[in-house]
Amino acid sequence: MNERDFEKLLESMKDAPEMGAGFETQKLWDRFAEENDFPKNNETVDYGFRDYLEFYVFQFSHTMIKPLAVSMAVFLLLLGGFASANSSSFNALPGEPMYQVKLSLEKFQLATAFSPEQKAKLQVEFTSRRLEEMVALTATAYKDNAVAVRIAMQQFKKEVENIQSDLKQEDASSSQTELAKEVGRKTKAYQETVADSIENLPDDVKQETDVVQQILKDTQDEAVEVIITAHEATDDEAVARELEKTFEQEVATLQAKDLTLEQKQKIETAILLQKEGAYRRAFQLLKEIVVE
């Protein structure tokens, strides 16, 4: 069966109760409505001209105010420099009024980055911010706002997935290498922060951390792959240094664990291969070492 046939098979099953169809949605709504004091029995409400007018006025004011707020933030940025603008104006958390401005400004900064290095740095910095936001939310009264913490976690996950997707682009570019270098430096810290924050997370968000850790690991592997490919294609000293640093870091992390003799020997072999410049094989050997 080819993929198209399978898609058709799946679509043909959409009305089967086994596939989640056939719930009595009206009855479910009525039950919910009764328990929570909502309108019942499909009472239709017709919205009038005034309701729509209010909506369009709101939308219009938003589309006007938002760019204005971004322009002001950019002005502040130019006036006070990146550091002060970041520290003074951008501590907003998800759900707070200034948060949208913060995100808009980030988009603006990304769009106007003048070099691949700067763009990569910004992309990773914004990902760090998403993680910091999650940690900050857990430090507040998260029990009343578990959904907000979960959303913050998902935003961080989304940013990492976007980076991973950029790293996977087939046409290798210098911006991809820069991004890989930045990611290589940060992933370990991300993994540690996520691991450290588990205790403080709402119980139902804890399970999500495994998925996030796996995505981080895959992204790290992808970054290493990009750096190795760049190293093989060019004689760039900066890339070579980055690769060496990443390798040493990886070795140090493994050596801190309780290893078997065979695993220790594998590390020794990997170090020898690395010294000869055979990075791809050396990293492959390190990857084979699985510590429980």
Binding site: F6, P17, G20, A21, W29, F32, N36, V147, D203
Partner: protein
């Protein structure tokens, strides 16, 4: 009014005026997808129905407090929360196959034709394989193939490009097909 605009209009009604009828409209527009999701993640239809009620209430509370861009996305996010809490409270339920006392398989008589039985078996089989996928893949398959949303719509609420979303859909369907063919 375009579906996107209508969604924004109704979300604004909820946030600004605590408009319960607007909430009902949104639930009717998007509720079926999350019901399917709950159906796949929870042991029984009754559990899915109970969880659905909890999801709606939490979503309502959240919209009143925070600006939301995509109602459907929020439904799924909250549903994941509710599913996790469900298993925390009750522990995982083991599915026991239907067997006779001596361990042989029970014969079940059916009034359906052999072809209908085969179709039923196929659907049950795909359902079981769906359950083996992770939440992200399940969500994306439900939205694309069972609820029939466009790639553009899914991309919008996932916050990804259409290209990346297509790749995600492709990977998810491939995983399901592999699981289906492996057995």
């Amino acid at each position: 009014m375009l579906p996107d605009k209508l969604e924004q209009f109704l979300l604004l009604r909820i946030r600004g005026f605590q408009d319960k009828a607007a909430f009902e409209k949104l639930v009717k527009m998007y509720g079926s997808g999350v019901l399917r999701f709950l159906h796949f993640r929870l042991p029984s239809r009754e559990d899915a129905e109970d969880a659905y009620s909890t999801v709606l209430l939490q979503v309502w509370d959240y919209i009143l407090r925070t600006e939301v861009k995509h109602f459907n996305g929020l439904l799924f996010t909250v549903a994941r929360n509710v599913i996790a809490s469900h298993y925390e409270k009750r522990g995982r339920v083991k599915i026991v196959p239907i067997e006779n006392e001596d361990g042989t398989e029970k014969q079940i008589q059916s009034a359906l034709s052999p072809q209908k039985i085969m179709d039923k078996v196929d659907v049950s089989f795909v359902k079981e394989k769906m359950k083996e996928l992770d939440e992200d893949d399940q969500e994306i398959i439900i939205l694309r193939y069972l609820e029939g949303y466009s790639v553009k719509h899914i991309a919008k609420y996932l916050g990804k490009t259409e290209n990346t979303t297509s790749v995600k859909i492709h990977r998810a369907i491939k995983k399901l097909k592999d699981l289906y063919e492996r057995t």
